[in-house]
């Protein structure tokens, strides 16, 4: 069978630094999900850090240049560029957006990378690939094991939708793309107040106290709404809600024990991928007791 026949669609892939380290289960489950859906995924060779928040915080030209160079590396691989990390996605889209409308900046970036800025390749978040390219109807048809009885709080965080003209993904105040996908997977969703609030993002290194406060509000709100778990689409959000959860509980003398899933873990599980192929052993708040309780594994 040729590659073209084997795959319905083919994507180039920019995992970003977190997916090779603290967010490894996001990478593992993305690959497993794409394989299950017969979507091709080929990593951009020798991609490097997009600069994330720290680079644009103090040096926009550096941030734009790092992203522009990565976009030109991505040209070497066929297919739209699939991105899983919300921060990488935001930076790459910001670069395309700014450089398309600002000739002065584009020329500076082209000098910095010593070549033309390649701005033509569509950059797509995993959510958009699932809901729009693959399609909700086909996603629903592909489900082998619906996630019945699992009550999920969909958490968007900041950069998937803001500012709206950059990610161009969904409504910036009341999005539904995560809930739409979740419905196709057969899970239940809870209505809750904190799905668009900031988790504290990269203050996790410099000022973890900020994360303890903001992420506590998110966990508390999800618990109050009756969620069994929270679903995210960003490795930073995951780190703050999962890795910091025990510290948040200790500080607030409370107990959440709320598993945090990546969208790709839940989707792959619904597609019949074996639980031991989805990196559940890597996370801090073990989701396996919940999944066993719901008879999903």
């Amino acid at each position: 069978m040729t590659a073209a026949k084997k795959h319905i669609m083919h994507y180039s892939y920019y995992p970003g630094c977190s997916l090779h380290a603290s967010g490894r289960e996001y990478d593992i489950s993305t690959r497993a999900l794409f394989k299950a859906l017969r979507l091709g995924l080929q990593e951009v060779p020798d991609w490097f850090c997009c600069g994330a928040t720290p680079a644009h915080n103090v040096d926009e030209l550096l941030s734009l240049s790092l992203c522009a160079k990565n976009l030109s590396l991505a040209e070497e691989v066929d297919g739209d560029l699939a991105v899983a990390c919300a921060a990488c996605f935001s930076r790459l889209k910001t670069t395309q957006h700014h450089l398309k409308k600002d000739d002065v900046k584009r020329r500076q970036v082209e000098t910095a990378i010593d070549g033309p800025a390649a701005l033509g390749k569509p950059v797509k978040h995993i959510l958009e690939i699932l809901a729009r390219d693959f399609g909700l109807a086909r996603l629903e048809e592909s489900v082998k094991k619906p996630l019945l009885g699992l009550k999920v709080a969909c958490y968007y965080g900041c950069l998937l939708t803001r500012p709206p003209e950059v990610p161009d993904l969904d409504d910036c105040e009341d999005p539904s793309i995560m809930e739409d996908i979740l419905r196709a997977l057969g899970a239940e969703q809870v209505k809750w107040s904190h799905r668009m609030e900031c988790c504290g993002a990269n203050f996790t290194l410099s000022r973890p106290g900020v994360v303890l406060k903001l992420s506590n509000a998110i966990l508390e709100s999800a618990q109050e709404a009756g969620a069994d778990c929270i679903m995210v689409a960003c490795p930073l959000c995951h780190g703050n809600l999962d890795i910091r959860q025990q510290k948040i509980e200790a500080k607030n003398q409370t107990s959440y024990d709320t598993p945090i899933f990546y969208i790709t873990q839940l989707a792959a599980l619904a597609m019949g991928v074996a639980a031991d192929k989805l990196g559940f052993e890597s996370v801090i708040v073990d989701p396996r007791p919940l999944l066993t309780d719901k008879q999903l594994i």
Binding site: S22, N57, R207
Partner: protein, 189 residues
């Protein structure tokens, strides 16, 4: 109220506007940015007051404070501004000006973390999280910070002991140098 260019110290305001690609002067102080800001509780000046201080020619106070370093870049302010003032970009511009001036900012930890993160790109190409955390603890004197977390993350494969260097490292170094060169020649801000 009409503000004279002199009161506003318009030169500084124009510099912020050039860097951020947005207008400082268009803000009419509705306060929506501060109302939605998740970090305003950590700041001495909430976002709308930062803009007002700039309009009143008090940029020095802004650069010397910690507010700009407590912005999480969540983009809520930019998204909600009725006058399309890109406040998140203004924050980036102010941080850059404070960073370049190496001035009297009251926030050192966030700046240290940013510096180490960017150094990591230049040295390795991709983030080396173990080194980032260890270097931050050493340089900030918080030797025990998150100490219990390290072994948990290592045993789960979330932190790697060793890190390979990226093949594009010479190209990354060239990007840093070309930007420095452009700035020396006055071709970029």
């Amino acid at each position: 109220m009409h503000l004279s260019n002199q009161t506003m110290k318009v030169g500084f305001v124009k510099k912020v506007e050039a860097l951020s690609g947005t207008s400082v002067r268009r803000c009419f102080q509705c306060g929506k940015c501060s109302a939605g800001c998740p970090m305003s509780g950590f700041m001495e000046h909430p976002p709308n007051r930062i803009v007002r201080l700039l309009q009143l020619g008090q940029g020095d106070r802004v650069l010397a404070g910690r507010s700009i370093w407590y912005c999480a870049s969540c983009e809520t302010c930019t998204t909600r501004c009725p006058n399309k003032v890109n406040l998140a970009s203004i924050m980036d511009a102010l941080r850059k000006l404070s960073w370049d001036a190496d001035g009297p900012s009251k926030e050192s930890y966030v700046q240290l973390a940013n510096r180490l993160f960017i150094e990591n790109i230049r040295s390795y190409g991709r983030q080396y999280e173990l080194r980032l955390g260890a270097a931050f603890n050493m340089k900030s004197g918080q030797f025990l910070k998150d100490l219990m977390l390290g072994p948990k993350l290592l045993s789960r494969g979330k932190l790697k002991m060793f890190h390979s260097k990226n093949k594009n490292l010479p190209e990354i170094e060239a990007i840093f140098s070309r930007i420095e060169e452009m700035r020396k020649k006055g071709e970029a801000l």
